[in-house]
Symmetry: D3
Subunit: 332 residues, 6 copies
């Protein structure tokens, strides 16, 4: 696969116009308030709980977390952390997953825990059946006539859209994590690849005082532009929907604007380490750069992988992220 | 594309074992009873209504139908019929659509009306955004973690499965049609291609005294076998789900058994004209033959298209269907 | 599929240089004169005839037309029209078909008739075996060594080229239609999708006083440019031919110039409603815009489908066409 | 690509039923008689002529042959032979080409001439624009509505079918060659790959006393079976045609029977060396074996290439052919 | 993707004939002896060494191993193990990698270490540049003209073949591991996926008293059959080689016989847990079953994943492997 | 396939920056000196020898050449020339082959010999198993962990790189040819297609007084740019390598610079006839133009094939090359 988008110089300067709803902040403020209220109302029944994971792993503490997400609905996550640190408050990395993946079997993502962090890996509601070892979190909400996939579920109304629930789950997970006594609430980083990167960006904007934002090949930035240039799904789910519902174009992009990573990025000042791959056929590099270029963070960097596809930097990039956090950890 | 399945001789003899739940009949009896009760409870608010379609068509009467389907939820359909037949009770053809298609713009399916029938074309809930000119019927029900698509929505519990709602919509549409004063309730035929054929088979089994069953390249028969041999989606959605949820195999096939066309076919005695295409890459011919071979109908025939793919016989087959009904109409 | 061509702004301004033979008008004047003479010479044997179609359709009048096309050779078409309009002169829509399709089984295209028009659907000589339900019109003319397909048949000499015969058939069909007593000769519109759009453009230029031109995703405009940028056949048939016959480039483009929609468009002043799809992989949008931008019509519009492939606007666009004609009909 | 057909043991035993028209021999006797009569009637105007080829080649005599084929129409061929053999009568190898190829630029096929044979390489009428350096022979005959390609041109009537003309050209070329004073008429071998192999089989059956028949990966044997099992074109052209013209199946196979290599093979007693490739995706090995197994020749062998696709044995097989002829030449 | 091979019942009974060289045991005995001698001769320069890995991981001991493989050449591996077990002798799992993968960045494979095992992950010489984060071990040996890939390097002579070196590396790694004071030499298990499974089988046969053999979707069993039926590389590398070197078939299969997993399996009596995926497009299930069915082990089982492709059971299968070892560990 | 690169006008002006090592000339001077010394040291054992080829060809003299290439290693080639020219010194064309091809069976490339030239066709070490009838020359040198293929073998060190050996073989072949008494050492031309074109460029730069350079669709020019834009292998082998070895980018391009055709082209003053194809999907036209535009030759031309893919001009181009040489031959 050759380069799939603009030249690197053009990418670095790319700042497409993205619609921003007037009530963007109000929309999300109310959405989060609703979710917190729902959890309060649900009370003990919906309260978060951590139970030991059923796993052969003995060298880390691995727990199965259920916490109240959007509508106080139960969302699953794995929590993994070092043994023998009783009484210590460790930094945390909260990770979100790629499109159609699930949190899987306990133990699949342990690098952060092995490096001494508390690692939290959220299941994405409704997803988790496309690859890997499975998700377990339902999304108990129906939708308008939609393309198979998640991009167009609820696309006719921002209040109904699928990502309203997912991004709220993510922000609520940060809320939950900060209540734990073995973590340092000032050192909560968010990360994730592809869709997980998009969720991380939203979580960073929707949560206060995020320590670091580290999305890889971030999806969900500049949706309208992405749909024009992306070679494949999931952006093409939007094109497919609009190829059928030919008169819904304005409605679709107006809804999408509430979930566009560019609008979240403008509101983020946390230190950020992005990564992007220039031969990516799934997430056009220009969309990730649109998000990165919009960031309000003073301390931001983007690692460029000129010859990678959507797999991006993989563990190689994780090493860079680990160094990025270690530097900040040292600086505390 | 060469032949995609067994030889024709083998197909004619193919009767795979398909699981049949002990409570299959009870399940559906209760399901339909629930739906009828729901409509009764909902009362006028959910009552069926027909309004003139907004269309340039002047030479047929075209109406936009909304009727109460599963859970008394509003389902859309087009009704098209000849002008100038006041006081006459015409035979009816109820048609269901293929996977991911919607009822579209009024006027796209008019051949039955042009041949003097009342034609009813049901929107498939939740679908209608994959091709064509669009569906308008939501499916307001969430699901377990599922593969994108509809095959695995609710797959862990037959009461939650997507096709429980769809097949109920179909049976309830036949109920509704029979209340109209311009149709002959003894002459209600059901038809459809691919998924529409599978829905037609279910509707024929779930409704009394169907006049004729005419599915083309019928999908949704012998799910488990179909998943072993189908080259492409939608059967492969099931394989994809099970490739991730490796321990759900039994659960999945037990749920699927409630929706398998073979189990419906065993219960059908209506006259039937099927069609099948031997180079079909979507619906393996052996699955359609599994349904056809299981039919209890005394009067049954299957038109074989040896060189067609999933498009099957198209209007050529419609001519055969029109002759099939004309013969039976003449015989009345 | 992402956008397949330039940005919309660039497309609206795109006016490529297209060769125009000095004797373009003379060529076509002589060609049509020859065809008319041939029909005169052939006399009764070749005279047009309409016979009732063998079809289950009862709610429209459907007739099987045979008329003398190029060389007075018999060309087939379907004629469909409303019943009960004796003595009325109805407006007409003449439609041409896409590449490798045939007029098919009677009744497949009835929307215009259902909206109160006389609808005429021409078989494309030699084609009609690639998809659908078949064409019946031979093309009794051999060719130079050619790529399989029709683009390069007779490509070494404009007088031998396949589209010389097809475009003449189309113009002769308009001649024929205007002789009927149930149509209004001042209200003859031409339409068609893809190749059918290209034929409609030619027919509009070769016939006098066309009421409206309504081509969709029109093929056959800016052949040389199209061959440079088209992803797939049929434009690539030309590339394939020239990849073998490496010294025929000039000859090929000189022949093509006689059949290029851009040259016809320059000569058209009829009201026109085009449509184009920006994710079209068969007909590059820039070729359709080349034709549209060249139109001499004062009253012209183009409907843009940004997210569609070669299927374009489908029935959604037909509704727009119906409104376009209704406005003009009202204005008469 | 894995094996594309049966196991070798099954292939060796494979003798499918192939329709044989009662008038097969009469059909071809009359066809050849007609062609010879046409040439006689055309006289000098259509007489064969050989002129020096315009080529940089100096070490062989290369001539450009035009000879009267079917209907006395001019067919091109290259003739290449050793220099310095004045007065000698050399053995001849007549070669036919693969689907959609042309005789190309002089000098592309010279191995037989380099080995001391007179080599004649026939252009296939109408073809020669799909690959290589081009054909120059028109096929001045129109056709029924047909799939693009050559398989279905004239498929509704054996007298109109494309291969009636091509096979006649081939037999007439053998006639012509035998008139030359520098060849030995008792030593005329025929060969060719793919379609060229099919033509060679026909030529061997339609000509008397062929010295040797050496087809490679021979196409055009067991058409009906081939269409069931072939992965790709050209056999799939027949499937495509029949997928549209759904009621022409019998007509098509009845026409095809006049051109089926199995029917020719039954009539051949010449020594034969075939070759076949078991991973061939174009010509299913079972079709070539159907031809080989039907041969009436006492002296026959087939070289099996278990790991090759449609390229077969290439020059490696030519070495075996050269040895095969050398043995027979030595035996003279 | 549907099932890619025989039915499960047929697979369970599948025992293809695989050539077995008379000197198979001698060949390997001499090969290992040579390798051990080479290491002895090389002495300290080539001696194995373990150094701390450069990694952010703090919760496991991770070491970078270099050990003398074939020809005493330096081979890399990662060793990962629990902290805080000083003085304990832990069981070991030695893992080999899939085709064209490398050992990658330290920390990518840690599940066994997290479950309390010493985990050793060998780099495959020459490979490690096709996917993942890279290998570092050269293969300093040239080859005959070969297909790109590794299957045909040295294919003309078993002593030159690439896998002679790789399998020797694997056996030598087991030798090395058994010298460590923190492992239990009686509890050395071998595992790996795809090519890694094939190497594990070889290692189990070439090492004494292996505790457990746990290959997943094992490649390199029944090479000749695999080349007939595999859809894709690497088996098709052999077909490609033989499609060019048409006269090397016997030589190739005679060489391959020295490396065929079936011949190793016959010699293995260790407890074994295999896994196989029935929709695998890379390693045909029948080849893995050929290996499994040939095992001499009394205690053997195979986990079947009916709906998975080449990814097989992933971490889900690892859980089964962990239970398999835990049972045996408990039994010690 | 549409145009695969820039417009022709842009291509003609395209001169990308290509790294040039300071010691480029020294590197090659030493490399050739080493090779010559190696041959001297090896003496008679490694001396070139020509033996009659085992071939059915009788009309040319065909010889099997083995000559000492890099490291005095034996490299194979075919030599073909006219008979009956005793005592004459003929001009020579030395040809190199495309990627993964071998010199094949004697007699496959004879056009130059047929036109009165001595033709020498070199086997490419290690290659010759991907297509055609096979190579026979081993490459007895191992490599770093590499992508399957040849581009990355030894990529970490120019002295280890595969093409250092291949280009040296080529230059040494020119040395060898010039020692023959039947050739004219002042008239040695070099040619080849794709990789063969790249080798020819290198050979022209590394040999003195080359008579003519005639590469077709030349590969191996502007490696870094080529890797950015090439759709397929072999350039993509470099991208694949760098997608894994993410920190080797500088090293890779520094090594590549020693083998880049652009750097060789700058040093060439021989008359040159290039060819290029604008729909080439393997060698981007811009890379070939980068080489052509860099040529220091006063007498240079490039034949452009606007509609061809990687097959380029084939024998059609050979005719142009033959005329190009004939003109220069006449001018001598």
């Amino acid at each position: 696969m050759p380069l799939t988008d603009m030249s690197l110089a053009q990418l670095r300067a790319f700042t497409p116009t993205v619609r921003e709803p007037e009530d963007f902040d109000a929309f999300w403020r109310e959405t989060l308030a609703e979710a917190r209220t729902a959890a309060d109302l649900a009370g003990a029944a919906a309260a978060a709980r951590r139970t030991p994971a059923d796993t052969p792993i003995t060298e880390l503490i691995v727990e199965d977390l259920t916490f109240p997400g959007w509508g106080a609905e139960p969302i699953k996550a794995w929590v993994a952390r070092p043994t023998g640190r009783e009484g210590e408050r460790l930094p945390v990395v909260v990770e979100f997953n790629g499109y159609n993946g699930g949190r899987g079997v306990a133990g699949e993502r342990v690098l952060w825990a092995l490096a001494g962090y508390v690692h939290v890996f959220m299941d994405t509601r409704g997803q988790g059946s496309g690859w890997g070892t499975g998700g377990e979190t339902p999304d108990p909400h129906g939708a308008n006539a939609a393309v198979s996939g998640w991009m167009t579920r609820g696309i006719l109304d921002p209040r109904q859209h699928y990502y309203r629930r997912v991004f709220t789950d993510a922000a609520r997970l940060v809320d939950e994590v900060r209540t734990w006594d073995f973590i340092d609430p000032a050192r909560v980083a968010v990360t994730g690849g592809s869709q997980g990167g998009g969720i991380a960006i939203a979580a960073a904007a929707l949560s206060d005082d995020i320590w670091a934002l580290m999305p890889d090949v971030a999806f969900l930035c500049a949706w309208e532009h992405g749909t024009d240039v992306a070679i494949s799904d999931p952006y093409q789910e939007l094109a497919r929907y609009l190829s059928v519902h030919r008169d819904h174009t304005e409605t679709v992009w107006n809804t999408a604007a509430y979930f566009d990573g560019v609008n979240f990025a403008k509101r983020i000042t946390a230190p950020a380490l992005f990564s992007v791959a220039l031969m990516d056929t799934v997430v056009p590099p220009s969309t990730t750069f649109a998000g990165f270029n919009a960031l309000a963070s003073a301390d931001k960097a983007i690692e460029v992988y000129p010859y990678n596809g959507h797999e991006g930097g993989q563990t190689f990039q994780w090493q860079k992220q680990a160094a990025f956090l270690a530097n900040r950890r040292a600086g505390v």
